[in-house]
Structure formats: C-alpha cells, structure tokens
C-alpha cells in the first residue's frame, strides 16, 4: 500500500483459481498487506486502468513456496465458504507459513482460528445438505416411440449457505449410485448417470424449475406428524438444530402449524384419560382384613365406583387355606355388599356342599370390587370388566392375598385368571392345573359358576363337573400343603 493505491486481484470462486494467483504472488514476493485478493462475484469496483498488482519484489520472492498438507486440506474447504474475505485470509496464512511452517497447528492464532471456524461452518453446511436435501421422483419417458421406456429420475433443489455442491456430490454418488439423480442449486447442478456412474455438471437454476411435489410426501408427512410426542414440545431445540431457513425445502414442515395447534389438545386428552389416581394410593399399607375393608369404600382407582351402589369386599375365614376369586359383584351382591349371594353363589354353594366342605371355611372375593353394568330399562345387565379395570383393582386383590395367605387360590372365570395369571391366560386350555403366578404360589383356574347358569343342555353338566373337579383338586392341594 506504499503507493496508496488499492492493488487487487480478482479471484474466480474456485480453489484452483486462488491457488494459481497465490502461487504467482508468493513467487513475485508480494506481501499480503500490499495486495487485496477479492472474490470475483463480490467485486463491484471498476478497474480504472492502473496496475492490478504491485511490482514484483525479488528480495522477498520465494521460488518454491511451502504448502504444508494440513494447510492445503483446510484451505480447500475454506475456499467453499461464502465469506468474500476468504481469499485474502488464505493468502495471508500462506504467506506467514513461509516463515513459520508450524503455524497451522496454532489453534489460538487469530488467522488460524478463523480458518478453522470457517472450515467448521462449511462442514456443518455440508452435513446439513446431506441431511435436509429432498429428492422428488419424476417418471421420464425415453426412446423415440411414445410410451416405450419410462425411468425414475430423482431431482432435488437445494440452497446451501456455501458453495459446497462439489463437496456434497461424492456422498450422494456413493449412497444413490444405482439411481438417476440430479441436484440443482443456484450456482451449479450435478447429474448422476447410474449406467456410466459419472457426474455431469451444469449451470445453476432457480427453484421454480425443480419438480414441485412427490406422491410419497403425504406418506412422509403422516409419519412426521405421528412420531413426535406432543407432551414434550420443545420447538427451541428443534429450531436450533434445524434453523428456519431450511424449512422451505422440507416437505414435512408445512404441516408444522397444524401439529403445534393440535399438540395441546392431544396432550389434554392424554392427561384427561389418565387423571384418576392410582389405586395403590387408596390401598392402606397395613394388610389386615378389617383395615382393608374399612378403606375400600373410598377407592376411586377406576371409574366403576361411580354407578355402583357400593364396593364389595371379600368374606370368609381370615386365614383360610383356600381363597376363591370371582370376577366382580353382580346385581344382588351390589345391593347386599357381600360376594356370591346371587344365583351364581347358589351354584357355588351346591358344589361346595357336594364336596363335603363348607364355604365359611374359605375366603371368597372378586377380582374387581365394583359391579359393572349397562342399564336396560329397569334392569342392570352385567358387563365384564376390561383388562384395564381388572389391572386397576389388582392392588386390592393382592392386599387381600397378603392378609389371608391362602395355601391355594382358585380363580373362578377368565377375569380372575387374567388378574393373577396374565392377560393371555387361556381358560379352557389351562383350567384345572396348579400354576404359579407372580402374585401367588399356587393358583388353579376354573369356570365361573355363572357359566353353568348360562349353559344349556349337556354342557351345563359338563361345566358343573369341571368346577367340581377343580375345587376338589384345590382341596387336595390345600391339605397337602398344610401337612
């Protein structure tokens, strides 16, 4: 700058162009403070006829400039950066390298730190391009005769922050080697031919020339809208990883407003459906029958308490060797507050009589403590509890088991069996066997006495005998375990 003139060199936006100029300038001994290397695309000043370079300075000229490999690797990436000052920066570092070969290692040096920062920005941009580029498939017809051949062509338009298309192509060439694809940008375009496995380069094109949609995008949007958890909205984190400038390119992002407006109501529903307190909070910690019986009426662990008259607790011997577990109270039990006093209870009593035992020596209860029904006129029709209700009531059953400590548990019917033996328990296949459950050591499942009432013809007798056999088995097991 000794002449007060701004000497400048215009560099075409390519690394090779800079390398050519830089090599010449070093060989001529021109220091970076004597000249400005400007990006051709950003140089709006007119050249007014004076010399573009200062006179060579042979005293400082270096015939064979040193270009260490680590510098070259970094410079090739930095050259893609959109910062118009990059050519000057690269030249200054190259110049300084001639007297300090290890400069590039000095991460804290301002010039080197800036190069590294630009390198990181370009790499990040490249990574985002690998991530956010979206192909749209078009079907092309080739061959002279109409409709002869059709082929798939995948086309993307993308706007990177830096000039990274040449850096990005190898990734797509490896990943999509067997596909015909084209990537369009403002500056350049690259097309891949899967037959020759070569890239062809072309000029840049505006977004409007790219395909505007792809059939599969609605499928992709469905996926995007379903895979996130509306209870964990965190759009700040979303925006920090995927800044808004990328959104126009992403087909899934145009349903974002809908997703955000419906998220709140989706969470509302989720919470509403879950806002009953866990049954455990109603079950006292002391597991004795009087304490449990006193606490049961307050339970709101599921919604069945609402229409029912009362909760029905178990009845019988406090430490009975046999515990019978039914499904749920029926109409009669709901009014009486005692289990198995209705028609099914009569069947049960008869079987127990025939076996020569007596019910007061057993403990009888239900898997679900409230009556579930639908009203038909004046009648209340029994409805089986679903698995959710069975599971919600299980803590009460487990507390009773803990209080009674029976030698053997008999599940009367599928609901009780599902509660203690798991939801996939198959009653007709596995009834009458002594089984182990996570909750009780010996469990036998059998038919519910009400099935006998409902059955007709021969099967009435068969089911009746099943229950009788299984209860007899329970008696044997209880006696064996007691001795």
């Amino acid at each position: 700058m000794s002449l007060g003139l701004a000497f400048r060199v215009r560099i075409a936006p390519e690394f090779a162009a800079w390398r050519e100029e830089a090599r010449r300038l070093v060989r001529e001994g021109i220091a970076p403070d004597e000249i400005e290397l400007v990006d051709e695309e950003h140089d709006t000043a007119l050249s007014l006829g004076f010399a573009l370079s200062p006179a060579p300075n042979p005293a400082r000229a270096i015939a064979q400039p040193a270009v260490p490999r680590p510098f070259l690797d970094l410079a090739e990436i930095v050259a893609c950066h959109s910062d118009p000052g990059r050519w000057q920066l690269l030249y200054r570092v190259l110049w300084r390298l001639q007297s300090d070969r290890s400069l590039i290692r000095h991460e804290l040096d301002d010039d080197v730190a800036r190069m590294r920062r630009m390198d990181a920005q370009v790499r990040r941009d490249l990574h985002k391009m690998h991530a956010f580029l979206r192909f749209r498939m078009v079907t092309e017809h080739t061959g002279a005769e109409a409709g002869e051949q059709s082929r798939e062509h995948y086309i993307a338009w993308y706007r990177p922050d830096h000039r990274i298309l040449p850096l990005a192509v190898p990734f797509f060439a490896e990943r999509f080697a067997v596909m015909r694809w084209t990537i369009l940008t403002d500056h350049a375009a690259a097309s891949w031919d899967p037959e020759t496995r070569r890239v062809a380069w072309g000029p840049g094109v505006p977004r409007s020339q790219a395909p505007q949609e792809d059939e599969l995008e609605s499928m992709w949007r469905s996926y995007y809208g379903s895979i996130f958890n509306p209870a964990r909205l965190n759009t700040r984190a979303m925006r920090s990883e995927m800044p808004v400038r990328y959104w126009t390119n992403l087909p899934e992002l145009n349903i974002l407003p809908q997703l955000l407006t419906t998220a709140e109501s989706r969470v509302g529903t989720m919470i509403e459906q879950q806002n009953s307190l866990p049954t455990n909070t109603y079950v006292p910690e002391t597991h004795t029958l009087p304490v449990l019986r006193a606490a049961l009426p307050r339970c709101e662990g599921c919604d069945l308490y609402k229409p029912a008259t009362q909760a029905v607790f178990g009845a019988g011997l406090a430490h009975a060797p046999i515990m019978l577990v039914g499904e749920q109270p029926g109409d009669a039990e709901d009014r009486a507050g005692t289990p198995f006093v209705g028609p099914a209870g009569k069947v049960l009593d008869q079987i127990i009589d025939e076996l020569g035992s007596n019910r007061p020596a057993m403990y009888v209860t239900n898997a679900v403590k409230h009556f579930k029904f639908v009203e038909r006129g004046k009648r209340r029709i029994h409805e089986s509890p679903n698995l959710r209700e069975i599971a919600a009531c299980r803590p009460w059953l487990l507390a009773e088991l803990d209080a009674v400590q029976p030698k053997v548990v008999v599940c009367l019917g599928a609901s009780a069996a599902k509660s203690l033996l798991g939801a996939k328990f198959a009653l007709m296949k596995d009834r009458g066997k002594v089984m182990e459950s996570p909750y009780a050591q010996r469990v036998i499942a059998t038919i519910h006495p009400s099935a006998v009432l409902r059955a007709e013809g021969d099967s009435k007798r068969v089911l009746y005998e099943f229950i009788k056999q299984d209860l007899a088995l329970a008696e044997q097991v209880a006696i064996r375990e007691a001795s």
Partner: protein, 416 residues
C-alpha cells in the same frame, strides 16, 4: 386398512422409544442397491419435541400379548391396532430412503404369538431389505427378549444395531409393572448379543472378511419416572449393563403420559431435566472416567436437578481443585466443570507449544465464570477463599432457563 393409516398408528406407537441414532456403523455403497453409512449418523429432520428423525421408527405391529403397565401397546390398552406385512415395511423404507428422508429403519414390535415368532417377522423385514433390495442403509432391530439364539444370530448378521429394552431399572419395578418381562430373560438376550459380537470381532482379527455382527453394537432403554426408583438405582443398573454386556448406549426416556394410561402410573411426565441429568451422568461414566457410584450418595440418591452432576461432584470434592490447566493429566482435566472432552483434547494439543491463559480458554468457548474458580492458568490462580465459600455454587451454576433449552440439544450430543 391402508398403508398410510397403518403408518400413523404404528409410528405413533413407536414414539415412546427415545433411540433414533444411526451412528456407529460404516457401510460402503455396494453398487447394487441404494444405501451407505459413513458412521457419523445423520438427522434428516427434527420433530416439534426437539428430537432427531434419523430412521423410519415404527412397530411391525402394536398387537401385544404382554401387559406392561407403562407401555401404551399392552394387551389391556384400548389403542387402535394395526399390523404391517414385512413387504410393506421394506417398501416404505426403500421409498423413503431414495428421497433422502431417512438413514434407514428402526423396527420394533409388540409380542405376537411368541418371542421367536415375533423375532422371525422382524428378521424377514431385514432380510427383504438386505437380500432382495441390496439395501446398504442402517438397520436397527429390536432383539426380542427370550428369542432363541439362532434367531439372534441371524438378526445380528443383517442389522447394524440390536437392542433389547430393559425399560424398568429394577427387578421389583418389573414385577410390579411388567409382569411378563423378566430381568434374567432380557439380560440373557443381551448376553447372547454380547457373546456373538465378541466372537465376530475375534474372527475379524483372523480373517478380514469375517461376517460382521451388529457392527453398531447394542443399546437399551430405561423408562424414568414410572416408578419411585432413584437415580442411584438407575445408574447402578446402567453401570452393570455397560460393564456386563458392552452396551454402546443406554437411552433414558422420561415417562410421558399417553392416551388411556393406566391408573397406577404418575400423572405428570418425569421432568425433562431429570432425563437430561441422567444423560449427563451417563456421559460422565462413559467418556469422563467417572464411576456410577461417584455421582450420587446414600443421603442424596437422586441427581441434583439444578446443576449438572459434574459440578455436583466438584462442589463435594473441593480438595481436588484447583487444577493446573497447563500441567494436569487428561484424567484430571476431564473432571473440571465446564471443560468438555473435546476441549480437553484441544488443551492437551495446544499446551505442548503454548501455555494457556484464561483468555485462551475463552477462545476455546469455555464458560469462564464456571471454570475460573476451579483452575490455575498462566495468568490466573483460583482464589483459595472461593473454594471454601458457601457462595461458590451460586457463582458457577448455569441458570435453569438456559439448562432447559440445553436439555433437548445435549440429549443428542452429550457435551458437558
């Protein structure tokens, strides 16, 4: 049912699995089909919950015979059910992949018929992709606990990653909430994967072309906040799993309310911050040389929600500081609050030719306010009085507002 409807149901059902990583396996393009992995993992999109979308994460079916209370797909739940055919999943994967929406597939499933049958179905999808489509992208398969060994072996040859989810941190939790799951069975499957991986690696030392077995390793997920288990118990389980089965990663998924949730579960999600703290603790165990038991105490079995666990440790071990940035070993530097493992490597490189000052640390984007009480540099000596001061925590703790934001990001990066 149409594929699009199935996709909605079976993606929705998969959203509780936090894992979506596609990193850890290098696979070159094979020249016959689409797909390769460069080992880094790519997030192709981000959802409004701040999570990365890297893989097509779906269930093959959400029918399930198990009745795990914390899981939305349990048999007793009344969610809508659907089932894909293996062909439908393979086609979706390929078509999404070709448009650059995804890195690959993460396929899980409800347990139908039996663990073996379910595993066979998952394997069939992977086989279609690898053999029929010559697919070279990333495949993560759920290893169904209790599936037979030959099936695990086939799965590992096709997939990049296998994972068997532990879900609940203690045996007691499992008995209570997942009566069909057993710790021994899950760990048995993890053990099989570990053994097969070890064998494959040894084989590779002998012959270069030995077949790979789940090259991206195995992972698992622990649901946090569905039971009263403490962070101490969770970290003990994590240490055990990392130690015994060489897991690549453990995902901690804060329990979240879901439609028709069971009444025995909590009403509110576990705080995101708790999940974040567990990830931080996990990273300290894997990359910073901390042992799991160093991070909590018998008196405080849960991680402090207001500060990161490294800072908690530092404040409880003030005799360890100050640390001389220009002399301390890597192991010691890794324990300084506010200096992440990448910066430790940079400090070690730089100080070989240039002693570091506070200003130099600032250039490395170190938060000086957090770090300065704990370090000595060429121009700075941590004042001894500060180390003894009760005010130290408030001076160095990052405000909660900033942390909440960081929670989403660092779950992915893990930088402390």
């Amino acid at each position: 049912m149409q594929v699009q409807q199935k996709l909605e149901i079976l993606a929705d059902a998969a959203k509780y699995d936090a894992s979506c990583a596609s990193s850890g396996a290098k696979r070159s393009g094979n020249g016959k089909g689409v797909g390769h992995s460069d080992g880094m993992g790519i997030c192709h999109s981000y959802t409004p919950d701040g999570r990365c979308v890297s893989l097509l994460k779906i269930l093959l079916t959400n029918y399930c015979t198990y009745d795990c209370v914390f899981c939305v797909n349990r048999v007793s739940s009344d969610v809508k059910r659907a089932r894909f055919t293996p062909q439908e999943v393979a086609d979706l994967t390929i078509n999404f992949y070709k448009r650059n929406y995804i890195e690959g597939l993460f396929l899980s499933s409800g347990i139908v018929q039996s663990p073996d049958y379910t595993m066979e179905q998952l394997i069939e999808v992977a086989r279609l992709l690898r053999e029929e489509h010559s697919f070279g992208g990333y495949i993560h398969l759920k290893a169904i606990p209790g599936a037979s060994e030959p099936l695990i072996e086939r799965a590992g040859k096709l997939a990049d990653r296998l994972s068997a989810n532990m879900e609940l941190p203690t045996q007691q939790d499992l008995v209570q909430l997942a009566p069909d799951k057993k710790v021994e069975v899950i760990e048995g499957t993890m053990g099989q994967i570990f053994e097969r991986r070890t064998e494959a690696e040894e084989e590779k030392k002998r012959t270069r072309h030995a077949p790979k077995f789940a090259p991206a390793g195995q992972s698992t997920q622990l649901v946090v906040g569905a039971t009263p288990s403490t962070d101490q118990q969770i970290l003990a389980t994590a240490s055990h799993l990392y130690g015994s089965y060489g897991l690549r990663r453990i995902y901690y998924s804060g329990f979240s309310p879901f439609p028709s949730g069971d009444a025995r579960l909590p009403l509110k999600p576990a705080p995101l911050v708790r999940e974040h703290r567990l990830y931080q603790a996990d990273w300290l165990m894997r990359y910073y040389g901390f042992a799991g038991h160093e991070l909590t105490t018998a008196e405080k079995p849960d991680l402090d929600l207001t500060q990161d666990p490294k800072l908690t440790w530092a404040l409880a071990h003030r005799e360890f500081f100050p640390v001389d940035v220009n002399r301390a070993s890597r192991e010691v530097l890794l324990r300084v609050p506010g200096i992440g493992y990448r910066n430790v490597e940079r400090i070690l490189r730089i100080r070989a030719y240039h002693p570091l000052s506070l200003e130099d640390l600032r250039k490395l984007n170190v938060r000086l306010k957090t770090v300065s009480p704990f370090v000595t540099t060429t121009d700075h000596l941590a004042p001894a009085a500060a180390m003894d001061s009760d005010a130290l925590p408030s001076a160095v703790v990052i405000p909660a507002q900033m942390q909440l934001f960081a929670a989403g990001v660092s779950a992915g990066t893990g930088q402390l």
